[in-house]
């Protein structure tokens, strides 16, 4: 049986006025795969996610999700995908639970199933106790966790997570990793962007390394390490680009 392609990125190029954010990106992601898009700040990870969920138009090339062209089949695609944006996007005057409920109500999921999803999600991200407090009172880590719950509330088949653990305390980070592993076990297709190499190594079936909008490597973490004879993905990245993935603070 041929694995179904959940996401197909085909000769994707995106240029802004002065800069090329993505240059001829080609990636195919199988259904049920946990794919890591790895790269330093400004590599083009968020731009890729934005185009995948229809927020930005590609300059050229195309993206397809479950066979639907994102440009034309956007309505169909929208029910299939869940997106966790890099910066938490939440209504600060609503409680954590109300945010999750509000976004859940925008999808066509039966009410009782939605309620179960919400309770389970809130428990999984460890916010049961704080669910009824306003988001404005949340710490950064709590906001990021609710941000993730909002992305998953409608039980999407394909999940885009844009740096879900950036700037998180270790406790929150492990809670998020658990959620991601869980999603993977349920057979969801996950595209995760990160600039933490160890996160990609721990979680991902396959990683694509991008730098300045170009894909410089694409394989499983183990294969990449073997191919470049390196101990860690970080070292693979240095070998490929001649620089560290995270700029050292000056």
């Amino acid at each position: 049986m041929i694995a179904k392609k959940a996401v197909v990125i085909d000769h994707l190029t995106k240029t802004f006025d002065d800069a090329t954010a993505l240059a001829d990106l080609n990636v195919e992601i199988k259904a049920g795969e946990l794919f890591g898009l790895l790269g330093p700040n400004g590599a083009g990870k968020t731009t890729t996610i934005n185009i995948l969920c229809g927020l930005q138009e590609p300059t050229s090339g195309s993206v397809r999700i479950c066979g639907f062209d994102v440009g034309n089949g956007t309505r169909k695609v929208k029910e299939l995908i869940g997106v966790c944006p890099q910066e938490p996007a939440l209504y600060s005057y609503l409680t954590g639970r109300e945010n999750v409920e509000l976004f859940g109500s925008l999808y066509s999921v039966p009410k009782d199933r939605m309620r179960k999803n919400i309770d389970a999600l809130i428990e999984k991200i460890g916010l049961t106790e704080d669910a009824n407090r306003r988001v404005s009172k949340y710490s950064g880590g709590m906001q990021r966790r609710i941000n993730l719950a909002v992305a998953l509330v409608h039980d999407p088949d394909i999940v885009f997570l844009d740096e879900p653990t950036a700037a998180m305390d270790p406790q929150s980070r492990h809670a998020v990793w658990d959620v991601i592993r869980d999603l993977n076990r349920q057979g969801k297709t996950i595209i995760l962007t990160t600039h933490y190499m160890e996160e990609a190594e721990q979680l991902c079936d396959r990683v694509g390394i991008i730098d300045h909008g170009e894909l410089v490597a694409l394989d499983s973490p183990a294969q990449l390490k073997a191919q470049y004879c390196e101990e860690t993905l970080e070292d693979v990245f240095i070998q490929l680009t001649g620089k560290r993935i995270r700029e050292e603070p000056k």
Binding site: C53, G54, V83, A89, Y91, S105
Partner: protein, 386 residues
């Protein structure tokens, strides 16, 4: 259109209003405080505290002997309590009564002198009297006027016919029981109330602009955009929410105004239509808010730009409007003017809901609101949602 979706987005707006102190203040508390302040400052009605009553008199007596009616008027004027204003034009007299300038109006009948002569000729033989009657119109809104004025008139009449100290039991001239006239004794505050309604609603421009710029900055508009929510559903939720907010605003202002003495001269259909106009006007301000959010780069600049819509509407079209001819000419270009005008007709002048003046105002408000909303939505979708 998916109604559960629209309804949950609408409910979110309601929660926002109740939970965000800035919005709650601007939209609810400020108009209420304003109404209270103006009600207390300008609410006193000129006539009620006075111990004199203005009585209009039309002397229609055409009898050969004029002296009777002249005495009667003189006796009325001699009273400490009544102040007499003579009218020759009946319509003008009724208009003044309706506006509360006078509290009562009497018409001395054509045969007054003849009737009085017949009494003087045979004071004790009622069968030879020529009877007549004096129509009396009283301001129904002034309880004192309806109670106090008829006896004072009787007394002046008795004095005229039989001298100061005679208590005549019967007279040929009867003062008719008063016809009550819906006189509107209006304070300066009453004339402000329709303008305060419009005033409250124009601030929606600012809250809408704020809400869209903040939500855009936080990535919430994009996040909504990722869901299956259509732009039409989203804009519908915003429109419905703000119409609801406007109605609540005006209901609260109305209640407070009522508490401090405002009495609309309107029946239920007039009131319902007044609230309908306010709801439509809310859409106009949603449109202005969207235009503001399109132009504004940040929530901070949105506040400033919103004032470009708020100030002209406020100074040209609400109770703050000055009565100069320049202002009145310019006022024709702001929608709030038509809202205030329609509400004044409906709530103060007692205009029926089908009155052409009101319908014309409504047509203009609907036109403004439609254009503002369409332009706002199109501009924001094309240039503001990046």
């Amino acid at each position: 259109m998916n109604f559960p979706r629209v309804s949950s987005l609408t409910k979110k707006e309601q929660k926002k209003l109740l939970r965000e102190p800035a919005a709650l203040f601007l939209i609810i508390l400020f108009p209420i405080a304003l109404t209270l302040a103006f009600g207390v400052s300008f609410g006193a009605v000129g006539g009620t505290s006075a111990t004199t009553y203005q009585v209009g008199v039309i002397n229609a007596d055409v009898s050969p002997n004029h002296s009777w009616s002249q005495h009667f008027v003189a006796n009325l004027a001699a009273s400490q309590i009544l102040k007499v204003t003579m009218y020759t034009d009946e319509a003008a007299a009724h208009a003044d009564l309706a506006q509360g300038k006078i509290q009562a109006l009497i018409v001395i009948p054509a045969n007054f002198g003849i009737s009085c002569d017949s009494f003087a000729a045979a004071p004790s033989d009622a069968t030879r009297w020529i009877a007549t009657s004096i129509p009396l119109y009283c301001d129904s809104g002034s309880m004192f006027a309806t109670q106090a004025i008829p006896p004072l008139l009787e007394q002046a009449l008795a004095t005229t016919l039989s001298g100061a100290h005679t208590a005549a039991v019967a007279l040929p001239v009867q003062i008719e029981s008063p016809s009550l006239v819906q006189a509107t004794e209006r304070s300066a505050f009453d004339y402000m109330v329709p303008g305060i309604f419009a005033y409250a609603v124009i601030f929606l421009t600012m809250t809408v602009a704020q809400s869209f710029t903040v939500d855009r900055e936080k990535g919430l508009l994009r996040r909504i955009g990722i869901t299956p929510t259509t732009p039409t559903e989203f804009m519908t939720s915003q429109s419905v929410a703000n119409m609801g907010i406007a109605v609540v605003q005006v209901a609260l202002v109305f209640a407070v105004a009522f508490a401090v003495g405002f009495r609309p001269n309107a029946a239920v259909p007039g009131l319902v239509l007044a609230f309908g106009i306010v709801a439509i006007f809310a859409l106009c301000n949603v449109g202005f808010g969207l235009i503001t959010a399109t132009v504004a780069k940040s929530p901070g600049s949105a506040t400033g730009i919103a004032f470009l819509f708020i100030l002209p509407q406020m100074f040209l079209g609400t109770f703050v409007a000055a009565a100069s001819s320049g202002v009145q000419a310019a006022a024709k270009f702001v929608p709030s003017y038509y809202v205030t005008d329609a509400l004044t007709s409906l709530l103060l002048r007692g205009a029926p809901v089908t009155s052409p003046l009101v319908l014309k105002d409504i047509a203009v408000v609907v036109g403004f609101s439609f254009v503002a909303l369409v332009v706002g939505v199109v501009l924001f979708r094309r240039y503001g949602n990046a």
